[in-house]
């Protein structure tokens, strides 16, 4: 009965009916969708279904369509001057719930944990387990048979499993994990992740913890605790990310069937439970505003009708204009009910709810001599809704309106004409869009041209800079003295450079591919120098079984996939010319053999260092070495070298000295130093006297980022222990800092950036002069991505390490990316303020969403979305740099 009317009013029926969940999440952007009455209808139903505390039913607002008809009916006749529907985007918080259910599966043997979520989204369960006897809060990967199909392992400690709808009509996305109560698993940990928004849903700021044994200590994040043990956490907390609702769902712990009397362990009496928690998600919503204008035949006034489906109170802030300049003015009365005058400039009318409770409306009577009706909408949550950033403008003089013309056309062919009307609009929009696009592309083009000019300027400037800088010696002595004078007197110790070093990692995981990396890098030498770097780390130079160079074979053969030995020397020479010190990436832990032993095991070496199997550690059965037990962890892909052998050490020392003298390296980046005792490293460094050394002591195994302890002292202790073993002859990459930055920046936990003593929580907090801070390298990032820095937060990371003590290292991929200028600015700020590896840090804020520190009383910095301003006392701070999520000040 009603469909006919709809068809004639809002033509083009029959556009696809979208499942409502989709409508919620992906408001359609095309106009014609919003003109589909069925869509309006479905949306009405939908927003209704997410009202707090309601059960979710399918489509109940069955009267919505009737409402639409009511209101527009009057405008279906021939006197319509104008009719338009505008889409409105806004953000709405949608509430839903998560449930966690533990019960026995049908076969009564196994148990299963089900986690479901009622909100639409691409939900992922990010989970792991802990075993009986585990200490700490680290996760382990669950056994393979526990992993539901579709699971993806995340490193070695977690699994990600998508939640699925059991059937199409189901409200919930759910995942079920089968578990065997006789396994040694003590608890299942999880967090929920919405892949569409990237949001993490946690439980009281921690992971959800489902205990499978009953003696677990409750850290406050346990769910489904058992009766009789008195550790019921009470009302379950809110989810950190969002959550308004504290009137949390009642956890209906269903007393479970207890028949699973476990034979093995008495205390393994699992009880089933069912728990619900509310969850709030911010969802972009698509709504509409419809406006129609009709001539009132009796009064010859215009009647403007406005309606919207935006829920809640909507205020129309409106005025009229008499010219095309759109000068707002207040028309003469009468006004609709609930209209107030706002500051003599505009009127404000509260929209009246429609009869059906979905949306609201108002009608305005306007004199016919007015040119237009102007308005903006003020929504309940104090946001304003405008049309493309401008006021909505509704023309009132019908003369130019095609709708008006249409009105005069034959009313019999109404359907056709209204179809033409729609088509007309669509073409109009298309023209407009393409017009905009061409304008846009024009703009982009000039912008591109501008960009390329700017790049050219930058290049020229860099060239000029490097030449000017190198010829700075033409200044008189006095001048040099004046420039250099205020340098703090920092003791130079071997292996750590001047203390003012800034490291550039001069390659990534793909650099070997061109076969001429050395030559490519040579062209960039002056550019890298001009950015302010002082040290560059080159890729491993030796002949290698793997193209990237980390599986060295003949140490004296320096022809690699990066280039020849001569090209390497040439590169180092040019790097030296522009004032860069060069680090060689030396792999001392392992070496690939040339020949097999009598058992067919590859452990006999060739080349200039033709060691036999005595040079291979004896405790790795793969390689049947005859050497001593390894002094560190073993790297299993190649024979590990036994550094306790005198002849091995002698040869390696000679090799390092050869690299120093013959090739020109100034220092080392030591690969995989976990593999052998730091004392041997000291031996090598004493012999080769490097200018700068950094060792890679990366133990990822002991590191969990999803639920990380505030206290990472154990982790940094291991790194510091290694540095100690080398007698402090060199530094080490500050893996701890990187890890903490991951959590702090990635999960908005900036409080982590201060340790218990108010110092930086990484190695840099304990031994800054030996800490080489970094956020990414060829392993963690690049195309390997073993442990990638939180995306988009890189500059915050650099704002941290480039303002803090320690020796910062910048990854090649970041240097030559759109971050370049920001990184250059940070480096120059560091240099300008003479921040060095021993600078002092005063942490002034380490809160949930902001970290701020003052370094050497010269620089102030903050990262994170929270606010911080440096003190406005006797010192005058002026903003020096500002970027996405970070800001740096210096004393003016």
């Amino acid at each position: 009965m009603t469909t006919v009317a709809i068809d004639s009013l809002l033509p083009k029926p029959g556009l696809s009916f979208r499942p409502k969940a989709n409508v919620l999440l992906k408001p359609s952007r095309s106009l014609n969708c919003y003109r589909n009455p069925k869509l309006l209808f479905s949306r009405g139903a939908c927003s209704c279904s997410f009202k707090p505390g309601r059960r979710i039913h399918v489509v109940e607002a069955s009267s919505t369509d009737a409402a639409v008809i009511d209101t527009f009916e009057a405008f279906s006749s021939g006197d319509v001057l104008y009719k338009e529907t505008f889409p409105v985007k806004r953000i709405e918080k949608v509430e839903g719930k998560i449930y966690i259910r533990l019960d026995q599966s049908e076969d009564q043997k196994n148990w299963q944990l089900a986690v479901g979520c009622s909100l639409p989204g691409k939900w992922i369960l990010h989970w792991g387990v802990s075993y009986v006897g585990d200490s700490g809060s680290e996760w382990d990967q669950p056994p393979k048979d526990m992993r539901p199909p579709g699971s993806i392992p995340i490193k070695d400690y977690a699994i990600e499993t998508p939640l699925k709808k059991l059937s199409k009509g189901d409200m919930f996305h759910e995942v079920k994990i089968e578990l065997n109560p006789s396994s040694a698993i003590a608890a299942i940990h999880f967090v929920l992740k919405d892949e569409e928004t990237g949001a993490w849903y946690q439980h009281r700021g921690r992971d959800f913890k489902v205990p499978l044994v009953d003696y677990l200590e409750d850290d406050g994040n346990m769910v489904g605790a058992k009766r009789g043990f008195g550790i019921w956490p009470g009302a379950l907390g809110q989810f950190s990310n969002m959550l308004l609702k504290s009137e949390t769902s009642q956890a209906n712990a269903q007393s479970s069937s207890k028949e699973s009397k476990d034979s093995k362990k008495e205390n393994r009496q699992l009880e089933g439970f069912y728990e619900e928690q509310s969850i709030v998600k911010k969802v972009p919503m698509g709504n509409f505003v419809s406006v129609a204008v009709r001539k009132c035949s009796e009064t010859s006034k215009n009647i403007l009708y406005l309606e919207t489906d935006i829920p809640g109170d909507v205020l129309v802030h409106w005025g009229v204009c008499r010219d095309d300049v759109q000068t707002w003015e207040i028309p003469a009365a009468p006004y609709p009910p609930e209209t107030t005058v706002f500051k003599n400039k505009a009127l404000r009318t509260q929209l009246q709810p429609k009869g059906t409770g979905n949306g609201s409306r108002a009608s305005f009577t306007l004199d016919e001599d007015l040119v237009g009706f102007l308005f903006v909408l003020k929504l309940e949550d104090n946001t304003w809704s405008k049309f493309k950033g401008n006021d909505f403008f509704i023309p009132l003089s019908g003369a130019t309106s095609v709708v008006g013309q249409l009105a005069q056309s034959d009313s019999v062919s109404e359907e056709i004409s209204s179809k033409a009307y729609t088509d007309g609009i669509i073409t109009g929009i298309r023209n407009l869009v393409s017009g905009l696009n061409s304008k846009k592309s024009q703009k982009t083009k000039t912008k591109e041209a501008q960009e390329s000019i700017l790049q050219e300027i930058e290049k020229l400037a860099a060239e000029a800079y490097s030449i000017f800088r190198s010829s700075i010696t033409t200044f008189s002595e006095e001048a040099v003295l004046e420039i250099e004078a205020p340098k703090p007197a920092v003791k130079i110790s071997s292996g750590t450079g001047t203390g003012f070093e800034i490291l550039c990692q001069g390659f990534n995981w793909e650099s070997h591919k061109s076969g001429r990396w050395y030559m490519e890098l040579k062209e960039k030498a002056s550019e890298i120098s001009s950015l302010g770097f002082t040290v560059i780390w080159l890729p491993p130079p030796t002949e290698s079984v793997s193209p990237e160079g980390y599986m060295p074979k003949d140490l004296y053969n320096l022809n690699s996939r990066y280039g020849t030995i001569d090209e390497l020397k040439e590169l180092i020479k040019s790097l030296h010319e522009v004032g860069l010190k060069v680090l060689g990436d030396v792999v001392l832990n392992h070496r690939c053999a040339h020949y097999q032993n009598q058992n067919g095991v590859w452990n006999i070496f060739g080349g200039r260092l033709d060691w036999d199997d005595r040079a291979v550690v004896g405790d790795d059965p793969h390689f049947q070495g005859r050497g001593n037990k390894s002094s560190g962890d073993n790297f299993h892909a190649a024979p590990n070298i036994d550094h306790s052998q005198e002849f091995v050490r002698k040869d390696l020392k000679e090799w390092l000295c050869w690299l120093r003298e013959e090739i020109g390296y100034d220092g080392w980046r030591l690969d995989f130093v976990r593999g052998f005792w730091g004392g041997y490293v000291k031996d090598y460094l004493d012999a080769s006297e490097p200018y700068f050394v950094v060792g890679e002591y990366w133990d990822s195994l002991n590191y969990t980022y999803s639920e990380m302890d505030h206290d990472q002292d154990a982790h940094r202790q291991r790194i510091v222990d290694w540095i100690n073993a080398t007698n402090g002859a060199g530094g080490a990459f500050d893996v701890t800092t990187k890890g903490i930055l991951h959590s702090a920046l990635g999960k908005c936990e900036y409080w982590r950036l201060s340790d218990q003593k108010g110092k930086p929580p990484g190695v840099v907090g304990w031994w800054p002069s030996r800490a080489v801070t970094f956020i990414e390298n060829h392993d963690t990032g690049s195309t390997q991505g073993h442990w990638r820095f939180p995306g988009g937060k890189e500059m915050q990371g650099y704002a941290y390490i480039l303002t803090h003590p320690g020796t910062p290292a910048v990854f090649y991929d970041h240097v030559f990316s759109h971050y370049r200028s920001e990184i250059a600015a940070l480096i120059s700020l560091r240099n300008r303020n003479k921040i060095h590896c021993r600078s002092t840090v005063k942490i002034v804020k380490a809160e949930r969403d902001v970290y701020a520190a003052i370094i050497d009383d010269k620089l102030a910095m903050k990262i994170g979305p929270g606010s911080y301003e440096p003190p406005s006392g006797s010192q005058r701070w002026s903003s020096a740099l500002e970027g996405n999520g970070y800001k740096v000040w210096e004393l003016s």
Binding site: R29, S30, Y82, F86, P87, V88, K89, R90, I91, D324, Q326, T327, W328, K343, K345, A346, G372, V376, N382, T383, W384, S385, K386, K388, G389, N390, D391, F393, P395, S401, V402, Q405, G424, I425, T427, G428, I429, N431, L432, K439, I457, E458, A461, A464, Y465, I467, F468, R469, S471, I472, T474, F475, A479, S530, G532, S821, A824, I827, L829, S892
Partner: protein, 537 residues
């Protein structure tokens, strides 16, 4: 076709406004016919009529265009603060040519010139040193190095402003010509001398201007020959590439006495300096003047109660705020003489320059220092020791401006980057007020002003420069000092780039952003005004 919620879309709005702005430029740049655009029939009828808000948008653009056009016109007719009118120059390194008359770091300069050209800089300033060109013997000029630079500049399609430097430079070290220094060894009286007997060997004393102390020639004659030689050597460039010449007027090229022998360390407050009237010839002039005035006793030396270089004004009697000798008849006698000698010296050199370059298309400039320290005291001791009789009760720059006007020369004023806010409070200095005073004097005498900066890349300096460029009196040109390692360093160059670009691109008005309800309402009503403001900015 989107309606956005305000608060999250301010960015988008800016873009759009900008688009609108470009749009109208596009329309009117090519086709300055309002009625035509208004009446033009759009291709697509339905677009025009059905979505009437777009029609309205179009109309709005048009109207804005009319407005802004008018604004621009009125501006150019009054010749006031349009940024397009200020020509931006960048100084080349002081040691661009030195020693053996070769171009130093030519490759860097070539790259630098290209970069500047791409940035839209109008030209470069080249210091030409007496001690380089006429180094070996009097009258023996070596222009080859500078000619090579002029050629580079011409090739880069930039303009050249030449500064003729009759002084020496400490850093980089470029002394006066060897033969002059040799003369100076036997005749130290050609140099300025302070009360304690120290000579200032970086420029000649103004008292010898007309004395034949240089191998039988007066310094003025020597300068004259130098300029004439320059004119003939650079004749192919003059008027085409070379558009301006600064005449060196004293220490650091500036019209002043070397009252500060050594520039103060940056962390110290600039002292008041000392009077430089103790070389024999200055003392002679003073004596004559005193006798002519009937006060021979006043001609025996400078003020006995003036403090020394780095002392503060109140440490002795002369500059005291109240009851200081500067306000006594003696003080007036001495200061008038001291400053008149300086102005006469400037007059001699500038009239020399205008007589030589008057028949060419180049403008002649002279530089006046900005002695802004202690400006807020009554005595202005820094200006007094430098030779400007400018105190709380006397305007000393009128006479200077008048002298420039008489010679049809333009004034170069440094320190356009300095703001009062960045001066140490205790120094009682005010670069901004002093600059305003000098510019007012120049305005009165219709002397055009061109600007320079003193420091480079100090915080807030670019904003200050912009402020000065945009002031009520338009600058003739601005010369940014100075190309070199620091200039192109990543600490500095990006901000310079931004500065140059900001000169050619109007900034968006902050009115465009909506935040609070109040503002939102305000903006709803005045949005079209805001747009016009933006375009005018």
């Amino acid at each position: 076709m989107e309606v956005s919620v305000i608060g999250s879309s301010s960015q988008a709005k800016i873009c759009k406004t900008e688009l609108a702005y470009r749009d109208l430029r596009f329309c009117f740049g090519k086709n300055n016919d309002k009625s035509k655009i208004l009446s033009r029939k759009p291709n697509s009828v339905c677009f025009e009529s059905q979505t009437a808000r777009f029609r309205k948008a179009r109309l709005r653009f048009t109207l804005e265009a009319v407005h802004s056009e008018a604004v621009l016109e009125s501006k150019s007719s009054t010749g006031s603060n349009s940024l397009d009118k200020v020509r931006l120059f960048v100084g080349l390194p002081l040691d661009t040519v030195s020693d053996c008359n070769t171009v130093n770091h030519a490759r860097a300069i070539a790259a630098g010139l290209k970069a500047l050209k791409l940035l839209g800089v109008e030209g470069v300033e080249l210091p030409v040193w007496w001690g380089v060109v006429e180094n070996e013997a009097m009258g023996k000029y070596g222009w080859s190095g500078y000619l090579a630079v002029a050629e580079m500049v011409q090739k880069a399609d930039l303009k050249l402003h030449v500064s003729l430097c009759f002084h020496a430079s400490r850093q980089p070290k470029i002394p006066l010509p060897k033969w002059v220094m040799q003369i100076g060894e036997s005749q130290s009286s050609i140099f300025f001398r302070d009360r304690s007997g120290q000579h200032y060997r970086e420029s000649l004393s103004l008292a010898v201007d007309d004395l034949a102390v240089l191998n039988g020639k007066t310094p003025i004659q020597v300068y004259h020959d130098f300029c004439a030689s320059f004119k003939s050597a650079f004749s192919p460039f003059i008027g085409s590439t070379i558009m301006g010449i600064s005449m060196g007027l004293g220490p650091d090229g500036e019209l002043r006495y070397p009252s500060h022998h050594k520039p103060a360390k940056s962390d110290k407050i600039t002292g008041i300096g000392e009077f430089q009237c103790y070389d024999l010839n200055m003392l002679n002039l003073l004596k004559q003047h005193a006798e002519a005035n009937g006060n021979p006793l006043w001609g025996l030396g400078g003020p006995h109660d003036a403090p020394t270089y780095h002392q503060s004004p109140n440490s002795n009697n002369f500059f005291r705020d109240h009851g200081g000798s500067w306000e006594s008849p003696y003080g007036d006698f001495f200061l008038s003489w001291y400053s008149n000698e300086l102005i006469s010296h400037g007059n001699r050199l500038l009239s020399l320059a205008s007589s030589i370059f008057g028949d060419t298309a180049v403008n002649v400039y002279g530089k006046v220092p900005l002695m802004y320290s202690w400006y807020k005291t009554r005595a202005h001791p820094c200006e007094l020791t430098a030779g400007f009789y400018n105190t709380a009760s006397r305007d000393g720059y009128e006479a200077v401006a008048q002298m420039f006007a008489r010679n049809s020369c333009k004034i170069i004023l440094p320190g356009m980057d300095l703001s009062d806010a960045h001066q140490p409070h205790e120094s009682l200095s005010s670069p901004e007020l002093l600059l305003a005073q000098i510019r007012t004097a120049c305005g009165k005498h219709k002397v055009q002003v061109s600007g320079q900066n003193l420091a480079s890349g100090a915080p807030g300096s670019f904003q200050q420069i912009k402020k000065n460029m945009l002031g009520e009196n338009v600058l003739d040109l601005f010369t940014y000092q100075r190309m070199g390692a620091h200039f192109f360093s990543p600490e500095h160059f990006p901000s310079f780039t931004e500065f140059v670009r900001s000169l050619s691109q109007p900034e968006l008005h902050s009115d465009d952003l909506l935040a609070e309800e109040e503002e939102a309402t305000e903006s709803v009503h005045t949005s079209s005004d805001a747009n016009i403001q933006m375009q005018a900015a």
